[in-house]
């Protein structure tokens, strides 16, 4: 259990380091951009890589027809065993449509969830801050009065009036 936690912590730190380093030395870093602006050789290199990423984005952005999954399933099921081919699951697969994953479905609620989380955090901070501050002020006040009476009438009476 402890090893797992340690491994998770290591992974977390590694990911954070990677992100921080990427910000500092990645292509979007200010000093890199400044250098690229003045260096034709690096500009050419970046241009080449950008061409690949543009082509990749274009590939990803091409949608396929909605019934492609159903057709592919139909074709794949048709070459399976007889018992599989006519099972209920196979019949469902033959008319299956691509569905967004749960993360994709929840993506539209992300900003709302972030806002709610921020509000809750602020409320918690205010509440805990207010309570802890009021308790602290009360204790400080008691201590001050206790010290005052202790110096004037002695510790015993001060303890009786303002017990700490």
């Amino acid at each position: 259990m402890k090893t797992q936690q340690k491994n998770r912590r290591c992974k977390d730190i590694k990911n954070r380091l990677f992100k921080a380093l990427s910000r500092q030395i990645g292509p979007d870093a200010v000093w890199v951009q400044r250098h690229i602006a003045s260096c034709p050789r690096c500009r050419r290199r970046l241009l080449r890589t950008s061409r690949v990423s543009v082509a990749m984005q274009l590939l990803k952005s091409q949608p396929h027809s909605l019934d492609l999954l159903a057709r592919a399933n139909n074709k794949a099921v048709s070459v399976l065993k007889h018992s599989l081919r006519y099972s209920d699951k196979a019949q469902k697969l033959k008319v299956a449509l691509p569905e967004p994953t749960i993360f994709e479905r929840l993506r539209k609620y992300r900003s709302a969830a972030v806002n709610v989380a921020a509000c809750v955090t602020i409320l918690l901070l205010i509440k805990t801050g207010m309570f802890s501050s009021s308790i602290k002020f009360q204790n400080d006040g008691n201590n001050a009065l206790h010290n005052y009476y202790a110096s004037r009438v002695g510790d015993e009476i001060a303890d009786e009036i303002f017990p700490i």
């Binding site: 290199r45 080449r48 890589t49 061409r51 690949v52 543009v54 082509a55 990749m56 274009l58 590939l59 990803k60 091409q62 396929h64 027809s65 492609l68 999954l69 057709r71 592919a72 399933n73 074709k75 794949a76 099921v77 048709s78 070459v79 399976l80 065993k81 018992s83 599989l84 099972s87 699951k89 196979a90 469902k92 697969l93 299956a96 691509p98 569905e99």
Partner: protein
């Protein structure tokens, strides 16, 4: 899965695990679970619906006949690797066929705008991916086209995520160099 057996003259309904039953229902489960991702990956590699269906069918046929119908230990890894390899070998065949008529096409087509350029760019990228060495090609296919995170890619290819990152970086550099070269040639 339910089955019936006759013991002492009576028929008993019993539950048999899918793997042991020999009915290979896990093939259908794999199809249900990984089908959408596979179709997306195959579409991005092949860009032709008929070819996607063929590669998909081939993948699940191979899965059903893997070691005389045994379930592979890692179905996801098996399915993704098989699909990617099948699709890329189909793509290579297509590229060879296309090269025969390429010159004629170049003579007949004129640069008419963004649509044509984007199509050419995609075709160029596909042919460059098909040319990549196997280890780099698998990374690009799984990470960029199937959009699997490095952790999963590493698990499928039995390498560490860090190695996957290094391979991907090398692959992008190679692709950039080749795409730039072919651009200059045209």
């Amino acid at each position: 899965m339910a089955g019936q057996v006759n013991i002492a003259g009576l028929s008993w309904d019993i539950t048999i695990p899918e793997v042991l039953s020999g009915t290979q229902r896990w093939v259908l489960s794999a199809m249900q679970k990984h089908g959408p991702e596979l179709v997306t990956m195959l579409w991005r590699i092949l860009a032709n619906e008929q070819d996607v269906c063929d590669a998909y069918q081939d993948t699940f046929l191979k899965l059903a006949h893997y070691e005389s119908g045994q379930k592979p230990q890692y179905v996801r890894a098996y399915v993704f690797r098989t699909a990617a390899n099948t699709a890329l070998s189909m793509l290579r065949h297509k590229i060879v066929e296309r090269k025969r008529v390429q010159m004629l096409q170049i003579q007949n087509t004129t640069n008419t705008g963004l649509d044509l350029n984007s199509g050419l760019l995609q075709e160029k990228l596909r042919s460059c991916i098909a040319r990549l060495p196997k280890n780099l090609r698998e990374i690009v296919t799984l990470h960029d086209l199937a959009e699997l995170p490095y952790r999963q890619v590493g698990r499928i290819l039995e390498i560490t995520p860090a190695t996957a990152r290094v391979y991907r970086c090398k692959a992008i550099r190679l692709l950039a160099a080749w795409m730039n070269k072919s651009e200059n040639q045209i």
